[in-house]
């Protein structure tokens, strides 16, 4: 059986890629996609923990479905923001959203 660490390493790598994308990318679509990547990294970790823990398989996967449902809603909101932003500014660069600047 593949050791747990492998799965966790994959999840961590995926999470890091997602986090990098959220921080570094300028296009709002890419930012939202990277956010999804981070969520899925967590999903992998949850599923892996579920299979390796003492409480037995199946329990942890429930969380994955909840996360997927929330992620779907979140993507809907995120893309709506993207559309609203495009209508307002005709660009999708998140750097433009600096109205809160002190």
């Amino acid at each position: 059986m593949t050791p747990l660490q492998y799965y966790l390493a994959l999840a961590a790598a995926l999470f890091a890629v997602g986090a990098w994308g959220v921080v570094a990318r300028r296009n709002i679509i890419l930012v939202v996609m990277c956010l999804e990547l981070m969520l899925n990294a967590v999903n992998i970790a949850l599923a892996a923990f579920s299979n390796y823990s003492a409480i037995g398989p199946g329990r942890g996967e429930v969380f994955v479905f909840i996360v997927l449902a929330v992620a779907a809603a979140e993507v809907a909101v995120g893309l709506a923001i993207g559309i609203a932003m495009y209508r307002l500014r005709e660009r999708l660069d998140v750097d433009e959203l600096d109205d809160l600047k002190g």
């Binding site: 986090a19 959220v22 921080v23 570094a24 930012v31 998140v94 750097d95 959203l97 600096d98 109205d99 809160l100 600047k101 002190g102």
Partner: protein
């Protein structure tokens, strides 16, 4: 009697509120109706009270318990005895006449209603001052009359000199009032009470030093209010106010408050020989000091102002040598004739279209007859001409000094009589005799309307008659009997018979007064070129007198300018440097800090997120390091 006494101060107060509130909009030219009516009634009531007191009916009435803390209590209450009655007589009579006179004098002034409102407030305060039955109430109204004095000196406040004179009066009085308040506190601390009766009953139990301290502090207040040296400087400047004010407040009533207060405190002063001596020295010195200045002044009101200072000095000398009755007698009589003289000078100024310089007058005798005759009567009374009121009161003061064995004071006072007669008639001769020195002003000169001349005639009556009525025979006249009870504690020696010595002293002082008049006549009528020559001959002395002994300049050099420089230093270094520096520094610190930290708030969400992640990682790292 109670209702009457209560109404005396209350009517002017009601009229003050009425005139003050409605005067500007509604009463305007009719502002004097209520105030003159109120004071007229107060005058009638004061007369009634005086007659009642004369018949032996006095009143001590506690109306309201004002402050009651533990054993200490201060009442609002009235004490009406012979001393109060005499003060009421002066205040009400001169007050009433000045009110009537002001109708004419202030006619057409922009502040007509304001004038009557203020002067009513003054009447209220002054009545309360003499009616009060304890030191605290006295002090309250002592300050209130000071306030009215300030308001009325600076009545024409757009004029810089007038508003400065008002401030000067207020500030100089503060110096005296500070001492007065300390004296009252000392009385409270040592005796635990402030009512006259309580204080005087307990005065005997105080140590000698303490009584002297209390008396000297109280006297400091009197020095300020009654314009004695060295706090006399405000009174001549107070002449910037309208002339009726000079007459009422700065000649006949308020400035007498100091004399009244010392006379009222006679049971205290009787216990301190030192304090009495100080009172006598200050009084005598001020009398001759001010009289010499009055000799060379050319402003008609300034002459009278210095004369007032000098006469107040007489009163204090009388108090100091123990001639209490004589002091009050002189106060009463001086109130009448000096009030009259000021009103006359107002009439002259009115006639000359506002000119106050005597050197531009002359020859007015024929043009303003009523003013001339009343002025002459006043000046004769001031000079102590035999038969007139001033003669008897002044002689009572001189006799008091002589009988008490204060011969040096007596000599100085006699010299002052001479100077007084001289400057009074210098004023008369310069103003009313010779040829007019300013033809244009002279051509315009006219007698004042009857509202102004009638008060002159009315005041001339007591100026002539009060002495004969109250002061004859000398030293045991009506006023001596009247005031005997009030000063019983302070007068030890029984009044001796009026003998040959007293009569010859009286004749001597009368002769000195007449000599002064003759000298003035010689200088200003017979040989009019003499004054200029005398001025040249006396050179420096003349300059010294003309500049009022440089007292104002000395105060500027010693007190005012150093204080100003110190204030300037405080302002520039401490205020703008340290205090403003600290406050502004705090502001700049906040601005600087904001500027330094502002780049962090870029508004870019990704930047925030990155920072958040770094923070999270840092926390995680710390956690790992601590657990492993």
């Amino acid at each position: 009697m109670k209702a009457v006494v209560l109404l005396i101060p209350l009517l002017p107060l009601v009229s003050f509120v009425f005139t003050g509130l409605l005067g500007r909009r509604y009463l305007k030219e009719k502002s004097h109706y209520a105030s003159v009516a109120a004071v007229a009634i107060s005058w009638l009531l004061s007369m009634y009270v005086f007659i009642q007191v004369e018949r032996g009916q006095t009143l001590s009435w506690q109306i309201y318990s004002w402050i009651a803390v533990g054993h200490f209590s201060v009442d609002i209450g009235f004490l009406v005895d012979e001393l109060t009655a005499i003060m009421l007589l002066v205040v009400a009579t001169v007050g009433f006449m000045v009110h009537v006179y002001s109708i004419g004098y202030m006619h057409g002034d922009k502040g007509y209603y304001r004038f009557f409102a203020y002067i009513n407030l003054f009447m209220f305060s002054m009545f309360m001052l003499v009616l009060a039955n304890n030191y605290l109430l006295l002090y309250v109204f002592w300050e209130a009359v000071g306030l009215c004095s300030y308001l009325l000196i600076a009545f024409w406040f757009p004029k810089v000199s007038a508003s400065n004179a008002g401030m000067k009066a207020f500030l100089v009085n503060r110096v005296g009032d500070f001492g007065f308040s300390l004296g009252i506190m000392l009385i409270f601390v040592t005796l635990g009470t402030l009512s006259y009766s309580g204080v005087f009953a307990a005065a005997g139990g105080l140590s000698g030093g303490m009584v002297t301290a209390i008396c000297l502090l109280l006297f400091t207040g009197a020095v300020g209010k009654s314009a004695q040296f060295p706090l006399h400087v405000w009174l001549p400047d107070a002449m910037e106010g309208p002339t009726p004010v000079s007459s009422l407040i700065h000649a006949a009533t308020m400035v007498n408050a100091g004399v009244y207060m010392v006379a009222r405190s006679n049971p205290l002063f009787a216990h301190s020989h030192t304090a009495m001596l100080v009172v006598a020295i200050i009084g005598t010195f001020t009398a001759i000091f001010a009289a010499t200045i009055a000799m060379v002044q050319t402003d008609i009101k300034k002459v009278l102002a210095y004369s007032t200072v000098s006469q107040l000095g007489y009163m204090f000398m009388a108090l100091g040598v123990g001639a209490w009755t004589a002091a009050m007698f002189h106060l009463l009589v001086h109130g009448f004739f000096k009030g009259l003289l000021f009103l006359c000078s107002g009439s002259v100024i009115h006639a000359m279209g506002g000119e106050q310089d005597m050197l531009k007058m002359g020859g007015l005798r024929k043009k303003i007859k009523i003013t001339y005759w009343t002025f002459l009567i006043g000046a004769l009374a001031l000079s102590g001409f035999p038969g007139l009121s001033g003669f008897f009161s002044k002689d009572a003061v001189l006799a008091g000094a002589f009988d008490g064995g204060y011969y040096y004071f007596w000599i100085v006072a006699v010299i002052t009589v001479f100077l007084t007669a001289f400057y009074s008639f210098r004023l008369i001769f310069l103003t009313f005799f010779n040829e007019p020195r300013d033809a244009r002003l002279f051509a315009h000169a006219h007698e004042s309307p009857w509202v102004m001349t009638v008060p002159l005639i009315v005041l001339a009556v007591p100026t002539v008659g009060a002495g004969l009525l109250l002061g004859v025979p000398p030293e045991s006249g009506h006023i001596d009997h009247l005031l005997h009870g009030v000063f019983a504690a302070a007068i030890h020696a029984p009044a001796h018979e009026f003998g040959l010595l007293s009569a010859s002293l009286m004749a001597f002082s009368a002769a000195v007064g007449i000599a002064g008049i003759l000298l003035a006549w010689h200088f200003y009528l017979r040989c009019p070129w003499l004054p200029a020559k005398a001025c040249k001959r006396s050179g420096r002395l003349y300059t010294l007198l003309l500049n009022k002994y440089y007292i104002d300049e000395i105060y500027f050099a010693v007190i005012i300018n150093p204080v100003r420089r110190f204030s300037g230093w405080l302002w520039r270094i401490v205020d703008t440097g340290v205090i403003d520096g600290a406050v502004n520094g705090a502001g700049w610190l906040a601005v600087g800090a904001g500027r330094a930290f502002r780049p962090i708030q870029s508004g870019k969400i990704q930047g925030y997120l990155f920072a958040m992640m770094l923070g999270l990682l840092a926390l995680l790292a710390v956690y790992l390091i601590l657990t492993l």
